[in-house]
Symmetry: C2
Subunit: 499 residues, 2 copies
C-alpha cells in the first residue's frame, strides 16, 4: 500500500489507497462518514472509506480497467470532503489475474479469463499466531498446491485453541479466561470486555498484511466474517455492532483482489443469530463491496439455502461427496465442499480421516462436477494443528492434491460437467465431445468401456491417484472399446478427444 | 434320506421321510393331493406331500421335539390315504442346532439357542454347474467362514452365465439360445419350451442333495425362489404355475433345517410380477411351511416393505452400510445386507470393489447392528465367478471375514445393539453394560475415549480388521479414559466389562 496521488500509476486489480488527515476527536469510527467516487469515463463507482486511527482516514479502491481514473471524496467532515485527484491504471503484470468470479454456472475463473481450479485448504486462525508461526505457514503455503485458504477475521476459542491472539479487533477493556471448556456453543468466558464502538486499526493492518501475502502467493483468502467458537464476545455482539463491523471489514479489505467473503463458519451453531441476521449480513456485504467478490456461508449441520440471490457459490460441509451433483442441480451454483473431514489423527471424528480417504473425497467431488477443501489435524505437542494455526504439513495428501490440481489445469478451461451418459454408475465429469474424467474410487475393475459419442476417438490415460502416475494407453479409444485397467482401487481414467 | 417306518429313530430337526407307492397314471403333479398329520402328544402338524415320479409319493417332516411321534396320511387317492405309523425322535447330535430363528428382534439363533452370527456369501447357481465344480465349491465352503449361502432354485441367464444347467425343473420340450444379450430385463429366448404342468424330480433331488450337503457343513441355504435373469421362461410363468411351483418346493425342502426362503433376488427387476404377486407368494410359503423357516425378499433398486407381517428379516441390497441402523428402526427386524457390492474386478460396478472395501462394509454393517453378505467376482477365463458358479475363492476378504466371525462369536450371544451413547459420531454396537464394539473405518484417531456408564470398568482390545490382529490394552478402561490407538484406518475397539 502506498499513498498515491494525482499522476500516480496503479496496476489493474491492485489496491489504490487515498490517505486523508483529519481530526481524531470524539469517536471517528462512529461519527465520521467518508466515501469516494471513482470514475473511468462515464462509469462511476462509490467506495466507502474508513478511519485508520490517529486522525488518518483512508479510501481503498481496486480499479478493474486500465486507463485514467478520477476520484472525489465526500464526508460529513469538511476537511475530508471535496478532495479530488486521479491516477493512471496500468495493465496487470504477470501473475495478477484479478479477482475470481463464477463462470459457466458451476465453475470459477479469474477476471482476466484464466481458469481457476479450486484446491482449498483451511487454517482458520493462522493469522492470530504471531510472526514466527505465521511466516512458517506462508513458507508452507508457497510450496503447497493450495490456491484458496479459509481463514477467520476473529480469533478462535476451541479445543487446541486456548492461546490468546496477538491483538483484538476492538480495544480490550478487561481480560478473562482462555480455557476451552469443551462446549461448542457460543460461550463467552467471564471477564472479557471490549469497547465495541471502536476498532483496533493495528489488528486490521495485520490482517491486511496476511491477506496481501496470500495474494502474492496466488492464494485466495476465503475470509470468514463470523464463527461460533468464541470466548471474547465477538460471536454475540448486537446487531448494530455486527453491521458496523461488516462495513468496516469490507471498506478495508474489498480492494484486495483475492478476498472471498464467507459470512460464517458453521453459521447454524451460532444460536444467537437467526436466519434474518444472515440474510441481512449478506445484503450489507453485497451493498458495501463495489467489486462483487464471491460470497457464501458455510454450514455445520443445516445447509443454508444457497439459492438465495446474494450467494455466489455453495460452501458446504458434508462427508458424502457423491451428493455434489445433487447440490449443483438444486441451486445452479458452483459447489465447494470446504469441509469433508480433515486428514489427521485427533480424536474428533471430523479430524481423523486417512490421507487416502481425503484424496479419494477430492477425486469423488471433482468427478461429480464440484470442488473440495483440505485440512489437516494431526496431534501436536504444542497444539499446532494446520487446520487452525498453520505451521507445517505432516500428512500425505498435499502432494496428491498438487497432482490433482495439475490434472485439472491440463483439462478443459471451462470446468468439468457431470457426464453420466458416458459411463453408467461411475462418477464421470468432463466437457462433452472433448474430455472426460472418470473416477473409480474403491472400485477396481480390470476393464472398463465408455459410451463415447459415435465416430469420436479419444486418447486415454490411466491415473493412479495415490501413486500419482499417469499411464497413456497406446491405442485410441472409441465407444465400447474395452480398456484394460490395473484392477486396483483409487484409479481414474482421463479421455481426451483426438481431433 | 431313508425310508422310515414304525419304530424307526429320527434325529430332532432331521428329515423324516415317508415313502408311498401309488399310480403314475395321468398327471399326479396336478391330480394327486397328499398330506400327513404328524402328532406329538396333543400337538398336530399338517404337512404336504409331493409326487417324486415313477409312482413314488413322499411326505417329509422335520420333528422339533424328541419323543414318540405318530402320523397318518390323507389323499384324494385311496391307495395313498389312511397310512399310519410312528417314529421316535431322538435328541439332536453335536453340530445339529436346528433351524435358525429370529431372536432379540434384530438377531438370529438356532432353535437349540446357539447364537447364529450370519457371515453370508453368494453363489447364485453353483448347484447348476455339474458335479466336478459343485464338489469344488463344497470343498471351498468347508474351509471358508461362511455360514449362509444365497442360491437360486432356477438356473441363471446373465453375463458370465451362458452355460446350460445339467437339468431343468420342468420337462424340456424344445431348446433355444443360451446367449446373454446384455439386457437385464426378463427376456425369454426364442425356442425354449417346457411342460409347466409337470416337475422334473431329478432336478429337485439334485437340489436337495446340495442343500443337504450345505446343512452338513453348517451352512444355511438362503433359497432364492424367483429371479429375473432368465432365458427359459421360469421368470414369466403364469400365476397358477408360480403357486404350484412354490408349494412343490416347500413340500420337498421345508423339512431341511437349514433352508431360508428368499422369495426373490431383485424382485423389482421382474417386470411381469406385481406387488400383489409377491405378497401372495409370501403367504403361500408361510401357509405351506409348517416350520416357519426364515422368509425375506431381496431388492434391486426398490426396497420391499419389510414391515409386512410375513417378512421375518430384511434382505437388502444397498451400498451404504451406515443406513443399517435406520432400517432396523424402520421395521424392527434383523437387517441382512446380502449385497453391498462384491469383491472383484469385473467391469460391472456392483462386482469390483476391493477386498478392503468389502471387509470395511462388513464391519460398518456389524457396528450398526446388522449383518452383511459376501460375494466374489474376479474375471475368469472360463467365466467361473464365485458369485454365480462357486469354484474357488481368489480374493482377500474371506480370511478377514473369518476373523470377524470369530470376534462376533466371542461377543454377546444376544447380538449387537447400536450403542451411540458410548461414542458420539462413531458406529458402536454392543450389549449395554457388558460389551461394546466400535469401528473406525476410514477414520484413524490416535486416541479415543468412550462415554462408559459410571463406575464400570472395561478391558479393551484394539483390532486391526485387515491385519487381523487383536492387541489387548493393559490398563482397564473407564468412561473418559483416553485410549491410545495406532492412528491408522480400518481399526476397531472391543470393550468387555470387568466384573
Amino acid at each position: 500500500m502506498t499513498f498515491t496521488t494525482n499522476g500516480a500509476e496503479i496496476e489493474q486489480w491492485d489496491v489504490f489507497e487515498l490517505t486523508l488527515h483529519g481530526s481524531a476527536e470524539g469517536n471517528p469510527f462512529l461519527d465520521v462518514a467518508l466515501s469516494a467516487r471513482f470514475s473511468y469515463k462515464h462509469r462511476t463507482i462509490e467506495v466507502d472509506g474508513f478511519y485508520d486511527g490517529d486522525g488518518v482516514y483512508r479510501v481503498r479502491f481496486m480499479p478493474d480497467t486500465p486507463g485514467p481514473w478520477r476520484f472525489s471524496t465526500r464526508s460529513n467532515r469538511e476537511e475530508l470532503s471535496g478532495h479530488e485527484g486521479g491516477f493512471s491504471c496500468v495493465p496487470a503484470s504477470a501473475g495478477n489475474h484479478g479477482p475470481v468470479r463464477v463462470v459457466n454456472t458451476f465453475h470459477f475463473a479469474y477476471a482476466d479469463g484464466t481458469p481457476y481450479k479450486q484446491i482449498g485448504t483451511t487454517c482458520y486462525v493462522w493469522n492470530h499466531q504471531g510472526d514466527e508461526l505465521e511466516e512458517q505457514t506462508l513458507a508452507t503455503l508457497r510450496a503447497s498446491p493450495f490456491n484458496k485458504l479459509r481463514m477467520c477475521v476473529f480469533p478462535k476459542h476451541y479445543a487446541y485453541n486456548e492461546n490468546e491472539p496477538e491483538s483484538y479487533p476492538f480495544p480490550c477493556l478487561s481480560r478473562g479466561s482462555s480455557k476451552w471448556t469443551g462446549s461448542w456453543k457460543v460461550d463467552v468466558q467471564e471477564g472479557w470486555s471490549f469497547d465495541f464502538t471502536r476498532f483496533e486499526p493495528d489488528f486490521f493492518r495485520h490482517l491486511e498484511l496476511r491477506v496481501g501475502q496470500l495474494r502474492d502467493l496466488g492464494i485466495e483468502a476465503d475470509l470468514i466474517l463470523f464463527h461460533p467458537y468464541d470466548r471474547w464476545g465477538f460471536a454475540t455482539m448486537d446487531a448494530a455492532t455486527d453491521d458496523r463491523y461488516l462495513r468496516y471489514v469490507v471498506a478495508r479489505l474489498a480492494a484486495y483482489r483475492n478476498v472471498w467473503w464467507s459470512l460464517a463458519n458453521e453459521f447454524d451453531f451460532m444460536h444467537t443469530k437467526h436466519m434474518a441476521d444472515w440474510d441481512r449480513f449478506f445484503r450489507i456485504v453485497q451493498e458495501s463491496d463495489p467489486y462483487g467478490h464471491l460470497r457464501s456461508i458455510h454450514n455445520g449441520h443445516v445447509l443454508y439455502d444457497h439459492s438465495k440471490p446474494w450467494v455466489t457459490h455453495q460452501s458446504i460441509q458434508r462427508h458424502d461427496l457423491s451428493q455434489v451433483k445433487l447440490w449443483r442441480e438444486q441451486h445452479g451454483k458452483p459447489v465447494v465442499v470446504d469441509e469433508c473431514c480433515y486428514e489427521g489423527n485427533i480424536w474428533q471424528f471430523w479430524g481423523n480421516i486417512s490421507a487416502q480417504e481425503l484424496v479419494h473425497r477430492f477425486w469423488l467431488g471433482t468427478a461429480n462436477g464440484g470442488y473440495v477443501g483440505h485440512g489437516e489435524t494431526y496431534e501436536h505437542p504444542d497444539d499446532i494443528l494446520w487446520w487452525a494455526k498453520g505451521g507445517v504439513l505432516h500428512g500425505e495428501s498435499a502432494p496428491r492434491l498438487a497432482f490433482l490440481r495439475r490434472i485439472l489445469e491440463e483439462g478443459p478451461a471451462e470446468g468439468l460437467e457431470p457426464a453420466a451418459e458416458v459411463a453408467r454408475w461411475l462418477p464421470v465429469a468432463g466437457k462433452h465431445h472433448t474430455y472426460y474424467l472418470a473416477y473409480f474410487g474403491v472400485h477396481q475393475p480390470a476393464q472398463v468401456s465408455f459410451s463415447l459419442p459415435d465416430g469420436e476417438r479419444y486418447r486415454a490415460e490411466i491415473i493412479d491417484t495415490w501413486a500419482m502416475t499417469v499411464t497413456p494407453v497406446a491405442e485410441p479409444v472409441v465407444g465400447g472399446t474395452p480398456l484394460r485397467l490395473p484392477g486396483r482401487p483409487y484409479h481414474a481414467v482421463v479421455l481426451r478427444r483426438i481431433l
